[in-house]
């Protein structure tokens, strides 16, 4: 195991699975590092093209309103304005225009309405029109000249209120999926899902102790520091180029081509460096508008959101109302677990409630379990993915109840979890049997860690929670182009959000048996490689790793063929090791091994360019469990919660680059601290967001948090050549429950609403209980 305190730098090797690797498991310097510490790295807003225009968006000031008319004539007449677009510039998508794209099937009829309002403005900040002008000042002036005739409608912000009869209807033509709906009636409930097995009624009958609680969580934003930005350039012949900050340039290409009616291959998309995404840059907002403006103006158009636009118009994750009931025997066996999850989707269907429902009880082996989820429309921006979408919300509630019930029967919370923990072959709470997993290993590592063994100072509290996430695979391509000097260009199609160029290049060097600095990884544009699904679902080091290993094996196969020709022996008598071809079966006496450089030097003579390529749809992603331990102090007079110590223990399968695995653990934990303590959306009575900026949307700052200890557990994933599991998402699942459990330990008060902000905590201390929904 690797502890970030002991080994934060240098080349300490993370422990291989009994194997000794030259590069895998080391802490090599990332190949894109120098560009990023010198300011060279080009992000979304850093590209300037000749004759480039500036695009800006007019957004709805109303949470819900019919758009009677839009008059853009005055804006079009303004000198310096080159193009103005509205809903009329996008043809509608047919009902049920649902296509597989990226990770999920996308409803393009919804998407075309989300990028540019059509019949109605569905949330404050919904795009109404856009302008391209020669500079920002003129574009802003032009927006002020656009006249929009709104008919303001009643709005609804809260998911529970939106389910009630008589609530304002957001999508009149919505048909509820998964539940009965009386003919002709209208609803905001987009979907009902149910998972589980056994019979919870039977299970609760077997219980000695049953605890039932209700929780609420607020929407939280991914909070990437780089606002959405792109540069689009369409030419008179209908071909286009798009530069953008995205987690998936192939996926963005598909979305934009569909919305603009272009041939996909006529659009060449290049991903900029991305200034954080966390799921929020898996969708398109500005890009179709920039392309439409550029198509009208036949000039390049740059668009970049302000921070305020990011908060008002892009997807946070859901806020939710949650009900959880758990039964246990006095000796700590869970007899039944039941939950109802109501997730707010925003103005269009698609909350991650199904995944929340599946993950809710995943850290437990259960005979009787049920989770029911509802996907609910409200007048807020459509939710976007955020790290382990859905899981943190559900597991906040379930892990809070598990902690309370362990306390009720006087059992240590980690021993309680160990007693009920799933292992390979256990039936999961969502159905299938688990493959090889590391739930028990992370729980044991947490229990045995110095943090958990160290007594608390007086007044402090300690909490633990376990989190689960599936991880995914998906379509991935990689190419290795051998250069004449034996160095190798590695072309990837997966956007690098947090160091995957390093981890993928390390696997290539390991396979080829050459030095890492002989491998130059880069992210190709959409014309450079076959399709690549987006960077999300913690998939890149897993799926990308399989693709890169495949490409390396393809390259090695050709290298062996060339060596066999050179020696005039059967290729079966050639092996590849330590970066050179070796003749086997007795040829070795009179044949010196051929190093990669030698074969590269003569590749023209032996048959021409040598390329290794591999394209896959990776399956069998290894799920990852994590257990967090957190200590808190509470200022009893002001209600401020201080996180004083934090340890993340998580199964990585195999840490290719331990530093960036630790970085995922630490970053997820601190995002979770923000979610638990201060981050929330505050709306006024008109459905307008009151805290659309980093001043009052309070992400943790450096002085808010302690060092984050990490323990990398390595239970190999058998479907990956190095045993890799995705690590990026699981770290944000446990923190909210772990911190709430720690506060409960400190105060003897169990909180059921997030965030645990100082006013709410102080009100609870005064009232003597944690159900203080009146405090903001």
């Amino acid at each position: 195991m690797t502890d970030s305190n002991k080994a934060s730098s240098g080349n300490g090797t993370g422990n291989g699975n009994g194997k000794d690797y030259k590069w895998v498991g080391t802490r090599a310097v990332r190949p894109d590092g120098v560009d990023k510490v010198t300011g060279r790295a080009k992000f979304g807003a850093d590209l300037h093209l000749p004759n480039m225009l500036v695009g800006k968006v007019l957004r709805s000031p109303h949470a819900h309103a019919h758009i009677r008319s839009i008059d853009t004539s005055a804006a079009e007449a303004l000198s310096g304005v080159k193009a103005v677009i509205t809903r009329d510039d996008f043809s509608d998508q047919p009902k049920g225009a649902v296509q597989p794209a990226g990770e999920m099937t996308i409803n393009y009829r919804d998407m075309v309405r989300n990028v540019m309002a059509r019949e109605k403005a569905l949330y404050e900040g919904h795009a109404i029109a856009a302008v391209a002008a020669v500079d920002a000042r003129i574009a802003t002036k032009a927006l002020s000249l656009i006249k929009v005739d709104f008919e303001v409608l009643p709005h609804v912000i809260d998911p529970v209120a939106a389910m009630e009869d008589g609530a304002p209807i957001i999508q009149e033509d919505l048909i509820a999926d998964g539940m009965e709906q009386s003919p002709g009636s209208m609803t905001n409930i987009a979907k009902r899902v149910e998972f589980g097995h056994g019979d919870v009624a039977v299970g609760f009958a077997e219980a000695d102790v049953v605890i039932e609680r209700e929780f609420t969580t607020q929407p939280v934003h991914q909070g990437y520091i780089e606002p959405h930005a792109c540069v689009a350039s369409m030419t008179e012949d209908g071909q286009g180029e798009l530069w953008l900050s995205t987690q998936g340039h192939y996926v963005a290409r598909g979305h934009c081509a569909t919305l603009l009616g272009l041939d996909v291959s006529k659009l060449r998309v290049q991903a900029s460096e991305i200034g954080g995404g966390f799921g929020g840059k898996t969708v398109v907002y500005l890009e179709p508008l920039a392309l439409a403006l550029s198509r009208k103006a036949c000039q390049p158009v740059k668009m970049a959101m302000t921070r305020e636009e990011v908060f008002r118009a892009t997807g946070p994750t859901s806020g939710a109302h949650l009900w959880v009931k758990v039964g246990v025997t006095n000796d700590g066996r869970i007899t039944a677990a039941d939950a109802v999850l109501k997730y707010q989707a925003g103005a269009f269907p698609g909350s991650p409630v199904a995944q929340g429902a599946q993950c809710a009880f995943a850290p437990y082996e259960l005979n009787h379990v049920r989770t029911i989820g509802y996907d609910i429309l409200v007048n807020r921006p459509k939710v976007a993915a955020y790290r382990a979408p859905g899981a943190p919300i559900a597991e906040y509630a379930t892990e809070s109840v598990m902690d309370e019930i362990a306390e009720a029967i006087g059992m240590d919370p980690l021993e309680f979890r160990l007693k009920n923990a799933p292992k390979q072959g256990s039936q999961s709470s969502y159905g299938p049997k688990f493959p090889a997993i590391g739930c028990i290993e992370t729980l044991e590592a947490a229990r045995d860690h110095d943090h958990y063994q160290t007594p608390l100072k007086s007044g402090q509290g300690r909490g633990v929670a376990t989190g689960y996430w599936f991880n995914i695979g998906g379509q991935t391509s990689a190419t290795l182009n051998l250069s004449e000097d034996g160095s190798v260009a590695l072309v990837l199609g997966t956007v690098d959000v947090g160091g995957t160029r390093a981890s993928l290049a390390m696997m290539a060097a390991e396979q080829l048996g050459i030095d890492l600095d002989k491998v130059r990884p880069m992210i190709g544009d959409t014309s450079a490689l076959g399709y690549n699904m987006l960077t999300g679902g913690s998939r890149v080091t897993f799926a990308g790793g399989i693709a890169v290993v495949g490409a390396a094996q393809d390259l090695i196969g050709t290298l062996k063929e060339r060596a066999a020709k050179f020696w005039d022996i059967p290729v079966d008598d050639v092996e590849w090791a330590d970066g050179e071809a070796r003749a086997t079966n007795g040829y070795t006496d009179n044949m010196q091994p051929l190093p990669l450089q030698e074969i590269a030097k003569d590749m023209a003579k032996t048959g021409g360019p040598i390329v290794g390529a591999h394209s896959i749809n990776a399956q069998g992603a290894g799920p990852s469990f994590g257990t967090h331990v957190v200590d808190v102090d509470v200022d009893r007079e002001t209600g401020r919660v201080w996180v004083t110590r934090y340890t993340v223990v998580q199964d990585a399968g195999k840490a290719i680059h331990p530093s960036y695995v630790e970085g995922q653990y630490q970053g997820g934990a601190v995002q979770g601290i923000g979610w638990a303590l201060n981050e929330e959306y505050i709306y006024d009575d008109n459905g307008r967001l009151e805290n659309a900026g980093f001043l009052d949307y309070r992400v943790p700052v450096c002085s808010d948090v302690p060092m984050i200890d990490t323990v990398i557990v390595e239970v190999p994933n058998p479907t990956h050549p190095y045993g890799v599991r995705g690590v990026g998402e699981t770290p944000i699942v446990p923190p909210m429950a772990a911190i709430s459990n720690a506060v409960a330990d400190a105060l003897g008060i169990r909180f059921t609403d997030l965030p645990m902000s100082p006013p709410r905590v102080l009100a609870a201390i005064k009232a003597g209980n944690g159900d203080v929904t009146t405090a903001n």
Binding site: V98, Q99, P100, G102, E103, M104, T105, D177, G178, M179, K191, R192, V193, E194, F195, Q222, F278, G279, G280, T282, P352, A354, Q355, Q358, A385, Y386, R387, A388, P389, Q424, G425, Y430, G431, P432, K433, F434, P435, W469, F470, N471, I472, G473, G474, Q475, G536, G537, S538, R539, N617, Q619, G620, A621, T719, G726, E729
Partner: protein, 81 residues
Amino acid sequence: MARIVLTGNLQLHTEGVKELELDVNTIRQLMRQLTTRYPGLPADLEDEVAVSIDGTIYQDDWFAEIAPDSEVHLLPKIGGG
């Protein structure tokens, strides 16, 4: 015969059936047999679901093999952040 388990809310389209046994060797055969047997299932079923075969989850993979004694679960497709 492989054991097939339907989760989420698929049983609403299968006359309430949540479990059944089918003689299928691949996910594509599974999808074809299911949609023929239960025309009420969504036309884009194969795009909407992930398929777990003996605990390993497959998405968009027609030809993943299903053994006669396999346990197969149809789950909602999984997207990440």
